[in-house]
Amino acid sequence: MHASIEQLLELRDQRPVAAEVLLHVEGCIACRQRLDEHAVLRESLRTLPDVPAPNLWRAISARVQPAEFAPRTKTNRYAYWLTVAASSVLVATLAVTVKQREVTITSSSFPPPAVAVAATPAILSDTVAAADPVSSFSAEPGIEELVNRSHALESVLRALPERRVVQRAGTTATIMGLEDGVALIDYRLTREGRQLDTTQSRELWQRRVDLLNSLVNVRYAEAQPAVYQP
């Protein structure tokens, strides 16, 4: 019985095969010819011509931001955490402002805070914890509170670094969807503002806050430096 292709490939690659297979191939013209053909095929694959790569250097260098290139020096780390800290302090300050206007303070059903707060560096954790918006907002916030939250989240968005020149399509689509959602609510609040009753208006403002909160999360995650996981 002739050797199988798998056995012939093992022989071609100088890996051990059963002694009887080796003996058969040595004495079988057909098998030796097929063995040679597999070797020729491999050599033919290896000598297939390459084509010149397109010059994509400009696109690549645009995607790789200087901040990501820069070595992780202490100065850079401080600058990075300073940005995060500034965003967090801004959120905390605005939260305190809102808190001062509140009569009832509970902490049960507010939507999750923006990542900017959750990722506060340890050095600032005490400061932020004292003014954590999660614990300072009421369970069913009124319209005025929701308006203030919207303003606070918009301030956080403005504090985040500018988006990269070239972005991930998936992230961009998510951000565009969220921004469109906010724009649609703004349109309704502007055009239908007088016709909306308190409940409808409150619902729209709540949705606006939720969308802005998601937007802050996505933008914040996008602004994080990439970390290679081998």
Binding site: L9, Q33, D36, R42, L45, L48, W57, I60, R63
Partner: protein
């Protein structure tokens, strides 16, 4: 064009690139863009996808130079990132031809193994025909045959990449060879070498 195994980057260039020297970074791109692009083109079978992998690979390489610790040659580190990017593309639902490597099989070719009539070692395989035959393989078979026969991956390494066993890789390689030879024979795409009369 040089292959990955032919290329190496000196420590000075690497350090400069890590420190943000634009010339060093571009030098790395110029040196490795050819092998990266051609490997991606072979594994993916498409120019547009290969260009995407070329971009994604260098963005990852250049933003993670600090992660390269010199445990393997720099060229092999880049090659590993390239292969991973190709696999991600092949596994992506956006991949135009098939959605999953797991389900992918080569289309049947009647009696492809045993109807093979063979060609002499004195005959060179026509490159255009071989390109066409490669394109006729399934994504997985093409990946296995190229990584094993050209890039020198072991069956164990291929198995790790695909999340399968070494036996699976061996079996895939055998089937890929059978199909390549059948495609080459069926289309009469080999041509005699120039020394037929003297050597055969």
């Amino acid at each position: 064009m040089p292959r990955f195994s032919d290329l190496e980057v000196d420590e000075k260039t690497l350090t400069a690139a890590r420190d943000g020297d634009p010339r060093a970074r571009e030098g790395i791109y110029r040196s490795f863009s050819g092998p990266v692009y051609n490997l991606a083109r072979r594994l993916l079978g498409g120019q547009a996808q290969a260009e995407e992998v070329l971009q994604d690979t260098f963005v990852e390489v250049l933003t993670n130079l600090h992660a390269y610790r010199g445990e393997a040659p720099f060229a092999f580190w880049i090659r590993r990132i390239t292969v991973n990017k190709c696999l991600m593309t092949l596994r992506s639902p956006w991949h135009s031809r098939r959605s999953s490597l797991e389900l992918e099989e080569d289309p049947p070719l009647g009696g492809e193994v045993h109807s093979h009539e063979g060609y002499s070692t004195c005959r060179m395989v026509d490159q255009v025909a071989l390109e066409r035959a490669l394109a006729g393989l399934s994504d997985t078979s093409r990946l296995v045959v190229w990584l094993h026969d050209v890039e020198g991956y072991t069956h164990g390494e291929i198995a790790d990449l695909l999340g399968r066993t070494a036996s699976y890789s061996k079996s895939r390689l055998a089937r890929a060879h059978a199909r390549l030879q059948a495609l080459l024979d069926n289309e009469s795409v080999t041509e005699p070498c120039m020394q037929v009369s003297n050597n055969c």
